[in-house]
Every structure is written in C-alpha cells, then in structure tokens.
Symmetry: C2
Subunit: 216 residues, 2 copies
C-alpha cells in the first residue's frame, strides 16, 4: 500500500483520512485544531497538531516520504495555497487539493497540484440532473465523452426485448449494461431479455446520445 | 420543468441553484445572508433574504407551491432540521437535505426528508479508492450491488481480444462497456476488439467481482 498525508480534517479531510486508512494505507493526518486531531488519532498511523502552512513543521512531522498528499482546506484559501506550495517544495510526487471555486482551483493547478476536486460542486451538478428528470434515478458523468444513467422502464418498454428497444446493430453508442429487477442485478443482459414492470435499466452511452434518450 | 426551492446558498446550495436554473427549471433561492442572495439574483427566478427556520417567512416567500425543496445548510444542524420540518409542514412533496454526518442524516430521515446527501463524504470515499489503486482511474459506486471502474490496460492485456480476457460466456458478472482510446470512445465494443497500448477499459460489474479484478 501507499503513504498518504492528509492536511486539514474538516468534513472532507476527515472522511478521506478514514477511508484511506480503512483501505490499508499508511495515513498521516494533520490539523491545527487539537480536538479534530484527537478524534482521528485511533484510526490513522500518525495524527498531529501542525500548522500546515509551515514547511519546517511539515518536514518535522514526516510528511516528506509520502507518495501522495491531499490538502483538504476549502474555505481558507490562503492556508490551502500555502500548504500546497510547501508540499511541492518538499518534493511530494502527487499533490491533490480541494478547491472552493474555479479561481482557487486555477491557482492550485499553476503551483503544480496534479488533481483539484470540488466536492460540493460535483455533487450539486449531479443532484440537479437527477432531480430534473422524472425517470432517471442517477446520472454519473464518467468523462465529458460518456455518461451512465439509471432509468426506470416506462410502460411502452414493458414486454419488449432489449434487442428490439436498443438495436445494437445500429451502433447508436448506447448500451444497456445492467438491469435492476427487484433486489437482483443482471449484469450484461442478453438482447433477448424482456423488460418487466419495475425494471431499472443501467445505460452507458456517449453523452449526447444519452441526453437524446432522456428527452424522448 | 419543475419548481424548486433551495434553502441555504453555501458552496453546495449555490451550485445546486445555478445548475437547476441552467437546466430550465424555476428556482427560488433563499439565504439569511444578503450578499449571497444578491450574487445569485440574476440567475434564478426568485432570490430573497429569508430566515429559513421561520415557516411564516417561507410561506410568504412562495415556497409552498414547489415540487421539490432542498435544504443546503450543512454545518448549522439546528437551522437545517428546523427548515426541513417547516418544509414538511408546508406540504412540499419532496424534500432533499444535505447532512453534516450520519446522526444529522438520521434525524432528517425521521422527519420525512426523502433523500439525504453527504457531498464531502461521498467524494472522499470515491477519491480514497482512486488514489489507492494504481491502475484504476475512477471508481463509481452505482449501488451497493454493482460498480463501474476505469482501468488502464496492463502489458499482459495488449494484443488480446476482449472475448479472450473477459470470456462473456462464463458470465462472471463483469463486462467491458467502453474503451477509451486516445481521444476516442468505443461504446459497446465487440468481443473481437483487440486491446492496444494506452487503452482505458470501462468495466461494469457486481461489486465483489470488480474488487477481485482490481486485486489481480
Ligand atoms: N494552517 C492550517 N494548518 C492546519 N490545518 C488548518 C489550517 N488552516 C485550516 N486548517 C484546518 O483545515 C480544516 C478544513 O478547513 P476549511 O474549513 O477551510 O475547509 P472546508 O472545505 O470548509 O471543510 P469541509 O471539508 O468541512 O467542507 C479545518 O479543520 C481547519 O482547522
Ligand atoms: N436560518 C437560516 N436561514 C437561511 N439561511 C441560513 C440559515 N442558517 C444558515 N443559513 C445559510 O445557509 C448557508 C449554508 O450554511 P452552512 O454553512 O451551514 O452549510 P455548509 O454545509 O457549510 O455549506 P457548504 O455548501 O459551503 O459546504 C450559509 O450561506 C448560511 O448563510
């Protein structure tokens, strides 16, 4: 497994440190707040009170031999940017950081952060799409190119086969990868599978094609 | 389209209100902070300064005829719970709310919130899995039953066909739904497709099967 350092133990940082530790990684967790450090100390390898904008304090705390470091300070942009800069100066190969907004994200990328995440924004955008479509249970953007959606089968679909509805030979760039039926999942259903009432179809496709499908 | 009310315009609430408006919905946006209300007023149907824990103020602001209302106040648990209660009393059919932690989430469910979201937690768990596996680019939990992952093809896979590697007839509950090749996406690749260097496979499968695959 790998060595991770998590700087900032707010909601995001704390969950991340705990999840990484649960997956068997070595995790160093830091925050300026004593109580937050104490709460997590039983679950990670090292938990210490450190001002993460101070490069000497980070070096002393053993951050330098981490494979990946994550800056999880969203609201305090100054602390986030100073901490990310310190990590790059310490030679950490991969630095990931949470950003408050696009401008904050751009600054982090300029100083060499390899991946910027926007937890609130990504969740908000996904939820907005799910709430807007009546049939769609969940839409996941896998990349700008293709999307996966879960759609409850409507009345016209019931009794028809997948081959009839999704005509794979027309290569429309959309395929049904699974059917959720009651508590059971059929992964890779054959074209001859007949749709039943209550089925939820899991569909992967090129984003434009999937958008057309939802509008029908 | 539908009528939405968004209560609380922090990072999550603001992004949600903007995304819902962009999808063509009618959006009412409320916050106790005047500046936040002003910032969003050009992009939504109605933006007002309202104390969202006050049911009379909400009624006056026209919340009652919304199809869906979202409580986007995470850190202030008291305000979140009082606002959610007020929405249920106003008879809003679907109430969604952001929660700070599991306990907060349980209280919201008890008072009748239909969907509780944890933006920081869900993002942290996903990121932890991606950072832990070297080949895996992204893992998305579609449900407790099945998962979708993007995996960079390794040296042993190059030159082999999908049918050879994923033997669909063995029905292992795992299928390759797409291949990302350079900037191109092949959705629903045939079994005869040969894997090339640099390919990224998008695989859907039963969660246990996918976990086994990652460990190989
Ligand atoms: N200089 C610093 N050194 C170490 N920790 C810090 C420093 N500045 C802030 N923190 C800590 O970082 C954590 C997260 O900070 P902040 O509140 O900016 O992020 P957030 O994005 O609002 O968090 P959340 O994940 O809860 O949404 C807090 O626990 C705070 O104590
Ligand atoms: N009683 C209230 N009525 C209306 N708005 C309120 C009330 N209490 C708090 N708010 C607003 O709700 C917004 C979000 O609140 P809070 O800071 O609790 O959430 P958060 O989860 O930290 O936000 P974020 O989405 O930024 O992570 C703030 O803009 C705040 O002004």
């Amino acid at each position: 497994r790998k060595h991770f350092a998590v700087l900032g133990l707010g909601r995001f940082g704390k969950c991340l440190a705990l999840s990484l530790a649960k997956l068997g990684n070595t995790v160093l967790a830091f925050d300026i707040d004593e109580k937050l450090v104490q709460d997590i100390s039983d679950y990670v390898s090292v938990a210490r009170v450190v001002d993460c904008t101070d490069i000497e304090a980070l070096r002393e705390a053993g951050v330098a031999n981490s494979d990946v470091a994550i800056v999880a300070m969203g609201t305090n942009i100054e602390a986030s940017v100073l901490a990310a800069m310190a990590l790059k100066d310490l030679g950490i190969p991969i630095v990931v950081a949470k950003a408050m907004n696009e401008t904050h994200g751009k600054i982090l990328e300029k100083i060499g952060v390899s991946r910027v995440v926007y937890p609130e924004k990504e969740m908000a955008e996904k939820l907005a799409r799910v709430l807007t479509s009546t049939n769609v249970m969940d839409i996941i953007d896998l990349s700008p190119d293709y999307t996966i959606l879960e759609e409850r089968a409507n009345a016209q679909m019931v009794g028809k086969t997948l081959a009839h509805l999704f005509e794979p030979d027309k290569r429309s760039g959309v395929i049904v990868v699974a059917i959720k039926r009651n508590d059971h999942i059929i992964v890779g259903p054959p074209g001859s599978e007949k749709i039943r009432e209550g089925d939820v179809l899991v569909i992967v496709g090129e984003t434009e094609e999937v958008k057309k499908l939802i509008q029908e």
